[in-house]
């Protein structure tokens, strides 16, 4: 029934919506290849001689390289720890319900209610007291709270969707409970689990406030470095700024397709 009316007006509105959704990002992308004079022109320029200078400058900066490595190490480690602990926990909640299951699920979800600033402020003092302030270790541990709770929350439905019959058949074949998890449930649910893990990676990669408050120099992540560019004074190097925003945004955008598939499978018609 949706196909019936495709008037030119609705096509126009559709095109407008798509422009609103992606054009601002595309504009920053274009600007990242412009010389400063082409960016600050009073009429927007769509045609110009492209340059790679902005990227060469951004990627050549020591603090950007440092931030990039920090972001990869911190996001990677906290996601790995979160997945190693969270995925088995989610399986236990999904397949071995007990009288605490509801409370466990609510506890995990309620961690998401905590305002990040309310977590970060006391942790400044805690990490200072422990001598770990402004270290990667402190950020990895702090982010594990985020990755683990997210992965548990998203993996419970992934395991619930695994048909019980497959697991029961494996038990009949003589598999123990651990073998059922590792050899049956894990591979069958793998696609959704990867979605959950990538989602938590994006959350941590994009995280700003906690990183801002828990780092001063050594452990700064890429969003902090990029925000420092954006807060430069009046004579802003706009081209460099645009390029740094693109560098920061690329890793999450790589996964757009994966996340779209994840949403699709989570909202699929049941039967």
């Amino acid at each position: 029934m949706a196909v019936k009316s495709k008037s030119p007006v609705s096509k126009l509105v559709l095109a407008g919506l798509v422009i609103i959704a992606v054009f601002p990002i595309f504009w920053v992308f274009l600007n990242s290849f412009k010389q400063l004079v082409d960016i600050v022109s009073t009429t927007p320029k769509f045609f110009f001689t492209p340059t790679l200078d902005n990227y060469i400058y951004v990627l050549g900066r020591e603090n950007v390289q440092h931030g990039l490595i920090n972001s990869i190490v911190i996001a990677g480690s906290s996601v790995l720890i979160g997945a190693a602990l969270g995925i088995p926990a989610a399986y236990a909640v999904a397949r071995y319900p007990n009288r605490f299951s509801d409370d466990i699920q609510f506890f995990v979800l309620s961690l998401r209610f905590l305002p990040p600033v309310a977590v970060a402020i006391p942790l400044i003092a805690t990490w200072l007291d422990l001598g770990l302030y402004d270290t990667k270790t402190a950020l990895i541990i702090t982010y594990t709270l985020l990755t683990m709770s997210t992965i548990i929350w998203l993996s419970i439905p992934a395991f619930s969707r695994v048909p019980r019959e497959i697991e029961e058949a494996a038990i009949v074949d003589g598999y123990g409970p651990y073998a059922v998890f590792f050899k049956v449930a894990l591979p069958v649910a793998a696609k959704s689990l990867i979605g959950a893990v990538i989602f938590s990676f994006i959350l941590v990669w994009n995280e700003f406030l906690i990183a801002l408050m828990l780092t001063t120099s050594d452990a700064k992540t890429l969003p902090i470095i990029a925000s420092e560019f954006t807060l430069l004074g009046r004579n802003v190097p706009w081209g460099i700024l645009n390029a740094s925003v693109i560098v920061l945004s690329l890793p999450p955008l790589i996964f757009v397709g994966v996340m779209s598939g994840f949403i699709n499978s989570a909202l699929k018609k049941k039967d």
């Binding site: 029934m1 495709k6 920053v28 309620s110 645009n242 945004s249 996340m259």
Partner: protein
């Protein structure tokens, strides 16, 4: 799978212990620090008990921040849901299946951007000198509008970015939900000559009440995380026109004074308020499902 096995204990207890430590350490530390007079630049501190909390309620900037946060919460949640529902219905009615598949990829791009990037993208669009939004305004009126520096427009302009990210994303989710509904009630209503908006308003939306309420809940939680947008776009300004609670706590605890105890007492109040509010809401949401 009714056999006795060690699996639930082995799989559950270590993660739960780790989570509990990670969650309770900052919570207990927040309360402990809030009861002292600790400042980042001084090593010594002593217990002042509730003095920080009493000071807070006489602090006009704090009261302002509560208001700004409440306005932000109400505006962004309402606008996001309105935009998402209307867009979803529009796409459902007017876009071909192929177009819908393309759009459901394009519309999740904004929400996947780091908020720092989203904030910059739009800060650039709003720029009075060469922002694209001001280009037509300059052509028409001769003078640009500095949206982010005017108290009247600053908060709304930042909210636009939030709705751009979440409204588009939620419209994709609601579109998928509409696609899963059985077509018969819709067809019956159309046979009775119901108008398109009537079909959706009286049939589609009520059938989706439970997931829509869950989405409202998710957005309420996410709207608390506005800090990145505000930090990059306005820094709480002009004046204190966009200073939310997290922005004010940040500037007290970190930037201006390093009054970490004072900031912690704000953190404690925010934790209490959100945990109480969301626990009650969550129990209510669960009843709907």
């Amino acid at each position: 799978m009714k056999r006795k096995t060690s699996l639930p204990a082995v799989f559950l207890i270590p993660p739960l212990i780790v989570l509990a430590i990670l969650a309770f350490v900052p919570t207990i530390a927040a309360v402990n620090i809030a009861l002292q007079n600790r400042e980042l630049s001084f090593p010594n501190s002593s217990y002042v008990w509730l003095a920080n909390f009493i000071d807070l309620f006489g602090d006009r900037r704090f009261i302002n921040a509560i208001w700004i946060s409440l306005i932000w919460e109400v505006v962004t949640v309402t606008a996001t849901m309105l935009v998402a529902v209307l867009l979803a219905i529009f796409l459902f009615e007017r876009a071909s299946p192929r177009m819908r598949r393309l759009i459901s990829i394009l519309f999740i791009i904004p929400v996947m951007l780091p908020r720092v990037s989203a904030a910059f993208v739009w800060k650039f669009m709003f720029n009075p000198l060469f922002g694209l939004i001001n280009y037509p305004i300059k052509l028409l009126t001769g003078a640009p509008i500095d949206f982010l520096s005017l108290p009247a427009t600053a908060l709304a302009s930042v909210a636009v970015v939030d709705v751009w990210q979440w409204g588009l994303f939620f419209s994709v989710i609601i579109l998928k939900l509409l696609e899963t509904l059985p077509p018969q009630p819709f067809e019956a209503a159309r046979l009775d000559n119901a108008k398109t908006w009537e079909v959706h308003f009286y049939i589609g939306i009520p059938m989706l009440a439970a997931p829509l309420i869950s989405l409202v809940f998710v957005k309420m939680v996410e709207s608390l995380r506005a800090f990145d947008l505000i930090y990059v776009m306005t820094r709480g300004g002009p004046g204190i026109a966009t200073e939310t609670l997290d922005m004010y706590a940040f500037s007290q605890g970190f930037v201006e004074a390093g009054k970490i105890s004072y900031a912690s007492s704000m953190a404690v109040l925010m934790m209490l308020a959100t945990i109480i509010a969301f626990t009650i809401l969550w129990k209510w949401v669960r009843k709907w499902q």
